[in-house]
Amino acid sequence: MYQFSGRIKIVAIALIILGIIGMAYGFISGKSKTIEDAQEQIEHREAKEAHQLENASFSKHTIIGTNIKQQDVHKEETKGHQEEAHADERHAEHVLHQLHNRPWAALFVAMFFLFMISLGILVFYAMQIGASAGWSIVLFRVMEAFSANIVPIGILLFLFLLASAFDLNHLYVWMHAENDPILEGKSFWLNIPAWLIRAAIYIGGYILLRYIIRKKSLKQDEAKDYTAHKKGFTYTIIFIAFFMLTESGLAWDWVMSLDPHWFSSLFAWYIFASTMVSAITVLALLTMYLKRKGYLEFVNSSHLHDLGKYMFGFSIFWAYLWFAQYMLIWYANMPEETVYFAQRYEQYNYLFFGMVLLNLFFPLIILMDIDAKKNYWIVTIIGLILLVGHYVDFFVMIMPATVGESWTFGIPELGALLFFIGLFLFVGFRALSRQPLLAKGNPYMKESLDYHYYTLEH
């Protein structure tokens, strides 16, 4: 039985309070931004760019075919002065909208990231049951507890989507588009009522199925026969099917529709890969923490080694999808597709390519060795690198469409991240302290307790 430690409680509550303060600051300062602030920002940026142009060679702009700046210069030359002033005004207004969007987008990145981690833990749990895996049963209660976060974060996420639908923010531009033939063609899917109903089905379905599966798992602890386990198995299979269908819809609805003209057929898989890496990493970190505190005495280094293998494997899977999406669009070179990467290349260059370094090369090189995967220090460091990398991944998915070139990582972003980490820890550890730490009724328990990967020494 886990005791909800006072230190964790204090840290979690402190993170939540700090996060609320940060987000409140972000919302208040974001709301009070005026057109003058936007103009100031544009001037600042132009001065910086002019400075860069003086110093740097042109090589940076020649790689991706469309050079936005040259086109701008060309346009400005042909236009009259009046039009130029008008264009400037519209640009300033555009930047102002971006500044207004920033606290909402910062909130959304952190919320979505932590929601997907919680959901990913639940999916990993379901995968273990669905495959009748033997090794992971000792970790089931940790997975069950931390997937409890899909309830509070899911509700907050739904409130956020409601706020978007009721015009409190302008993240989803397709809600306000007029005379747009592309969006009219997509309107059977992308319309506000259907969008909200789908969101309710996704989040409600996950919460309901998780509740049933967990209840069956707890019932099995006391049961004399295996009916509860068998029923739980059936619901788990239903959950996996439901998840695989709804995850695509979720990715399209909440993330891909931020760039409503753009599309990529493997985008849902891409988000799934990112989710699974982050979720398994969080699970590994929590397992190591609890083991260090002496609660999971039945977990041995073979279990940790397996989690490390999953971190390693899904990192490569993520990189494969990242590259598949990037390379096909780069090669086909169709303007309606390349615009997505052109913007990231121009405005998010270091983040966009830096995350490949964080998410592929470190885990690839360091986690490849068999002994590294059972070493607490190495897995912790690689895990933290991976979590930073995948936060950046979600950041680069969401920010360019909502905040665009006005992005920074400041108090609103940090506040939202701290708030949701605090919430995640608080809810997860509280749920963990409610039930015994070993799902002792599970029929595969013996296999998991005896688990020993043959070349490892314990």
Binding site: F323, M327, Y331, N333
Partner: protein, 181 residues
């Protein structure tokens, strides 16, 4: 000078029994010459105290060879010899066009590593096509596990000990090596 010894073959029917037998024999400080099994037994190499394989190092070197080969091929055929233009991509520099070749780089790396590793393994194990089998009992490719030992004296003790470890059959042959130094 000649050396006379007995070649002892102990036959087992089960891999668990074999594993325990190997551990017990090594604990007794008897030397095991060779073990023949129908399939790879997990953990046997550890029980026998074999050194860790170095094939991973060769795999890494072969992989690098493949990577460099693929770079040379793509650079020569697509950039140097005849710049190929697909979809208006920059085709006069390698770095700007490298994305298009990543698949080839990857595939040839894997190809070289995998095939050369198998060939290395065969060479190292002295295996080639039509080589005659060295296992003393054909049944050791089917359902029998064989431990081979060389014993110079106290043969009866060894036989009694092997019997205790669960061997269902123990064969002894006289062997002589000429010109033993």
């Amino acid at each position: 000078m000649t050396k006379k010894y007995f070649q002892v073959h102990a036959l087992y029917k089960d891999d668990e029994v074999l594993m325990n037998a190997v551990k017990d024999i090594r604990k007794k400080d008897y030397e095991i010459e060779e073990v023949f099994t129908p399939f790879p037994v997990h953990g046997l190499e550890k029980a026998l105290g074999l050194k860790r394989t170095r094939i991973a190092i060769t795999a890494f070197l072969f992989g690098i060879t493949g990577f460099i080969t693929a770079m040379a091929i793509t650079n020569y055929t697509m950039i140097v010899d005849w710049p190929q233009n697909f979809g208006g991509k920059p085709n006069f520099t390698y770095t700007q066009n490298m994305l298009a070749f990543v698949t080839i780089l990857f595939e040839l790396t894997v190809f070289f590593a995998a095939h050369l590793m198998v060939i290395t393994f065969y060479l190292r194990s002295k295996l080639w096509p039509w080589k005659e089998a060295e296992n003393p009992y054909p049944a050791s490719t089917d359902d029998t596990f064989v431990i081979e030992m060389e014993v110079e004296d106290n043969l009866d003790d060894v036989k009694a000990f092997l019997e205790k470890t669960g061997a269902f059959q123990i064969d002894v042959a006289d062997k002589t090596i000429e010109h033993y130094v």
